[in-house]
């Protein structure tokens, strides 16, 4: 298995109050597939995203990615993990305002041992003509495409997307989904998409449904459709 989670729990403490954001969540993900994580607000989606991405630590349980236990890694090794294995796409893009489109992508490529060509990725995301612009000069859809380019250019084995279409209009959302699908097909990258939008699950190979920190359903999608066909 490419990703294996064993009884992963995460507890947030605020004074005397404890909130179990994740409660003994276990699952396995295969390499090169697309997964979606769905669930209502507060179900633990973002917590799972953070822990899988090495941004946060689990309280209990283990997570293996490519046979490496990331829950046992120290901060330095976690930074290496993020650098070598994971690409992130956020809801609000999180591009670096002080860098141009090209530089934003280059900043990511520069960290990778095996990066893709920046210009090639920009062309693939259809933002090559915007390469010298700053993020604030772009539309939301364009910014998200740059964010995907930034994630892809590292040539990671896993791309984690947190509500990648949450701030976009319908057309832009469709384009972003198609690009993610293209990346998955072309580079064999495993993609995990956290979303509120149930329709997106239809383009995934499997869906994890969370509720109150528990994994209540892991359903394989036998009737997977292309991103192009997804509508809502």
């Amino acid at each position: 298995m490419f990703v294996k989670a064993e009884k992963v729990s995460k507890i947030y403490r605020l004074g005397k109050n404890e909130t179990r954001a994740l409660n003994e969540v276990s699952f396995e993900l295969e390499r090169g597939k697309i997964y979606t994580v769905i669930g209502p607000s507060g179900s633990g989606k973002t917590t799972l995203f953070n822990i899988l991405g090495g941004l946060d630590r689990a309280e209990e349980g283990k997570i293996f990615v490519d046979n490496k236990e990331i829950t046992a890694m120290d901060q330095r090794r976690l930074a290496d993990y993020r650098r070598d294995y994971v690409g992130f796409v956020f809801q609000f893009y999180n591009l670096i305002n002080g860098l141009t489109v090209y530089e934003n992508v280059l900043a990511s490529a520069a960290l990778s041992k095996n990066p893709l060509d920046v210009d090639m990725v920009l062309k693939m995301m259809d933002v090559y003509s915007e390469r010298d612009k700053f993020p604030f000069e772009l539309s939301g859809g364009q910014q998200q495409r740059v964010a995907i380019a930034r994630a892809v250019v590292k040539n990671p084995v896993l791309i984690l997307c947190d509500e990648p279409t949450g701030a976009l209009d319908y057309e832009s959302s469709k384009l972003v989904l198609k690009l993610l699908e293209d990346v998955n097909r072309q580079f064999g990258t495993t993609i995990l998409i956290i979303t509120h939008n149930l329709a997106i699950s239809r383009m995934a190979d499997a869906t994890l449904r969370l509720r109150s920190g528990r994994l209540v359903e892991f359903s394989e999608n036998s009737q997977k459709i292309s991103a192009q066909e997804v509508t809502w």
Partner: protein, 743 residues
């Protein structure tokens, strides 16, 4: 690393905000470089001048010619007679000296050493009267050719009389010529003037020996010679204030940088979190963000050093011409450049480091999602604020919430107040107070110092003139000396008042001037031990009253009592105060001057002082301006969302302005009001330290004029900025709230 570009681009984007900090650092570096380099330049050149041109250790004037070899052998000193004479023509007094070979040798700044029939002029007089080399000058009816400009090591601060405060090259000049020419002009000198070089172990024996053998008329040690020590005092003073001023500006800049850095980091929280998520390590990110302080330091201090360095030489020239010091050598002040670079670096980097360190304590998830505001210690809630109406309550709460930046504003205004007040007071004390003293206290128009203390039967004293006697004393346990005058008990020439303005009647007891009392730390009723400068005889006198005089180491008592106490016969005197000019045989007069001469000097010098005051006021105003601007802009940027909400709720700009920035008025007033007593304290302490080891006393008093002028200038700057900042509030649209939600 491409992410290295982030800081520079951010600085460009928020240019004004960062530029203000850069400017503050630049001002700090410039202030340090300007003062340190120019003072080093003056100091080095002065030391070289003193050494190479053999500045005297003292001079004395006797009524008889001294046996030089006897004195030299007995006291193991070097001694040289200098012929001197004073001549007056067209309201100009020329003091003529023969050119020395060994002590106080002239440095030729322009032209050449004079030959027979030629003279050197002091640089200020030369410039003031627009002489050129080879011009003619008439002295006592004889024409001389000006061979050039000469600097004398004992006439650095060229004042006519020891009591004068400011030089007056329009009406007084020093002329240097060959001994033979002085002898031709003035064949029979009434007195003999000697300069000596060497350390005399027992100065009292020395003076006593001269007095008993050749009749000592005047004895001035180097450290008591105002023509030398005024320069040293001013240079010391400038050196003393250089570091505190620069340090203060740097510390304020560092605090502001800390606040700005926090804001920059807060607004970039998601970007920094993203950099982490991409795999950048804390070290990578830290290195990138420490470039903010690096650039601020680099731009600020390099610009500051360059400006300071470029300005230092004209500044040194200005000082040099003010003190008539020559330039003998040039040098590059590496150590000062190094300090000017290093000093801001320490504070700026520390400030940047602490701002970042606090942020990097957050987890990546906290960075990515942001927290409302990164707090460094919580302030307690003050319930008292809730008693006020809504707008005032919000204003007070904003001020309390941004306590640190309000404190910086207070300190900034306070510092500007002190700086500006110092300049204003210098003008008031030196010019207005002296003018006032010469109108209210010293009511004579002419002062004559005679060659000897006697009954002077050759002088017919009329109603408009009063005799006085005078003796100089050293005050035991200090380096100060006092001139005690014996004057008529109901004198019309000297009127003394206490601090409440009541006239003090002159009696058999000692009255001393206020600055001198302050300097000695004595009050009415205290005793002081004094020692006659010429005879060494000691006396213990009780201070009867302290007279409110602005300047001077003076004491007064009734003339007959003075004579009895100090061993003179009744009716003897050494000088005359007069309302009108008196015809006194020239051979009896040692020195004379008119009050109008002195007042003209003061007025003429006011222009020079005004320049210095202008520079100080400008620096103070710029400082206040930058601090208020940066802090107000920051507050508005940070509160765009709240301003948007308030606008959406229907509040008008005036009300929003009051709520968000109204506390600044309180801080401004607090800074200014605290600044007034602190200005007085700072100035007194500065003056006391500066005059501690020298024979000079002066009191600096704040006048209502300087307080008002300072307040008006600072208020205008403050209100102007408020106006500019208000425009920023007007630009905030309610839609900002939505944008902030997305950001």
């Amino acid at each position: 690393m491409v992410i290295k570009k982030i800081p520079l681009r951010t600085i460009k984007r928020d240019f004004l905000q960062f530029f203000s900090i850069i400017l503050l650092v630049a001002i700090a570096s410039m202030t340090y470089t300007l003062f340190a380099v120019s003072m080093e330049d003056i100091g080095r050149n002065y030391e070289m001048f003193k050494r190479d041109y053999v500045q005297e250790d003292g001079y004395f004037i006797t009524s008889k010619e001294v046996d030089e070899s006897l004195l030299k052998d007995k006291f193991e000193i070097d001694l040289e007679e200098r012929l001197f004479y004073e001549t007056q023509q067209d309201g100009i007094t020329l003091r003529i000296f023969s050119i020395s070979d060994k002590i106080n040798k002239p440095y030729i700044g322009v032209g050449k050493m004079p030959e027979e029939g030629e003279v050197l002029l002091d640089p200020s007089f030369f410039k003031a009267h627009q002489y050129q080399t080879n011009d003619e000058i008439t002295i006592s009816g004889q024409k001389f050719k000006v061979s050039g400009i000469g600097y004398l090591p004992d006439y650095i601060y060229i004042i006519k009389n020891d009591q004068d405060f400011l030089p007056d090259p329009e009406h007084f000049g020093v002329v240097m010529m060959l001994k033979s020419d002085v002898q031709k002009l003035f064949p029979a000198p009434h007195v003999h003037y000697y300069s000596y070089k060497g350390k005399v172990d027992n100065i009292e024996d020395f003076k006593g020996f001269i007095n008993s053998n050749w009749g000592l008329l005047k004895f001035v040690e180097r450290d008591q010679n105002p023509r030398i020590i005024y320069t040293e005092m001013k240079v010391e003073n400038a050196k003393r204030i250089t570091l505190p001023i620069s340090l203060f500006i740097i510390i304020v800049s560092s605090f502001i940088l800390f606040i700005v850095m926090r804001r920059v980091i807060n607004t970039m929280h998601a970007e920094i979190g993203t950099l982490y998520s991409m795999g950048y390590t804390q070290k990578d990110v830290f290195k990138v963000f420490m470039r903010f302080p690096l650039y601020i330091w680099l731009f600020g201090s390099v610009i500051g050093i360059l400006l300071g360095y470029v300005e230092a030489y004209p500044f040194a020239e200005f000082y040099r011409s003010y003190f008539t010091l020559p330039k003998l050598t040039s040098f590059f002040p590496w150590q000062h450049v190094f300090v000017a670079l290093l000093l801001p670096a320490i504070f700026i980097f520390l400030s940047g480091y602490f701002a970042l360190r606090n942020f990097f304590r957050l987890t990546i998830v906290q960075m990515l999602h942001g927290i409302d505001e990164i707090k460094f210690g919580k302030l307690p809630t003050i319930k008292f604020f809730d008693r006020f109406e809504f707008k005032t309550r919000i204003m007070l709460k904003y001020g309390w919430r941004h306590f640190a930046r309000e404190l910086i504003l207070i300190v900034g205004i306070l510092f500007s107040t002190i700086l500006m007040m110092y300049g204003m007071t210098a003008k008031d004390s030196i010019i207005v107070a002296i003018e006032k003293a010469y109108n209210e206290n010293f009511r004579y128009n002419y002062l004559y110092m005679l060659n000897s203390t006697s009954e002077h039967p050759e002088i017919n004293l009329q109603d408009f003139a009063e005799p006085y006697n005078l003796l100089a004393f050293d005050v035991e346990g200090t380096k100060a000396s006092i001139m005690i005058y014996g004057i008529k008990s109901n004198s019309d020439m000297i009127k003394l008042y206490d601090e409440r303005g009541n006239e003090i009647s002159v009696s058999d007891q000692l009255i001393i001037s206020k600055p001198f009392a302050n300097k000695l730390g004595v009050n009415e009723g205290d005793e002081i031990k004094i020692k006659n400068k010429f005879t060494g005889q000691e006396y213990t006198l009780k201070v009867y009253k302290v007279a409110d005089l602005p300047v001077g180491n003076n004491g007064y008592m009734e003339l007959e009592n003075f004579n009895r106490l100090f061993g003179y016969d009744s009716g003897e005197y050494v000088g005359i105060f007069s309302k009108e000019k008196i015809d006194i045989p020239e051979s009896s007069v040692f020195e004379s001057y008119t009050k109008s001469e002195l007042l003209t000097t003061i007025k003429a010098s006011a222009e020079d002082l005004s320049k210095t005051i202008g520079v100080m006021a400008l620096i103070a105003a710029i400082l206040a301006l930058l601090i208020v601007y940066v802090l107000s802009t920051l507050t508005i940027n940070e509160n765009k969302k709240n301003i948007g909400i308030l606008k959406m709720l229907g509040y008008k700009e005036n009300s929003i302005f009051k709520m968000v920035l109204g506390f600044n008025y309180i801080s401004f007033l607090a800074g200014f009001i605290t600044g007034i007593p602190l200005s007085k304290l700072t100035m007194d302490s500065l003056m006391n330290t500066a005059t501690k080891d020298i024979d000079f006393a002066m009191s600096l008093d704040l006048s209502i004029n300087s307080v008002l002028s300072t307040f008006i200038i600072l208020l205008v700057v403050f209100l102007l900025l408020r106006f500019l900042v208000r425009a920023k509030i007007a630009k905030v649209m309610p839609v900002e709230i939505l944008r902030q939600q997305v950001d």
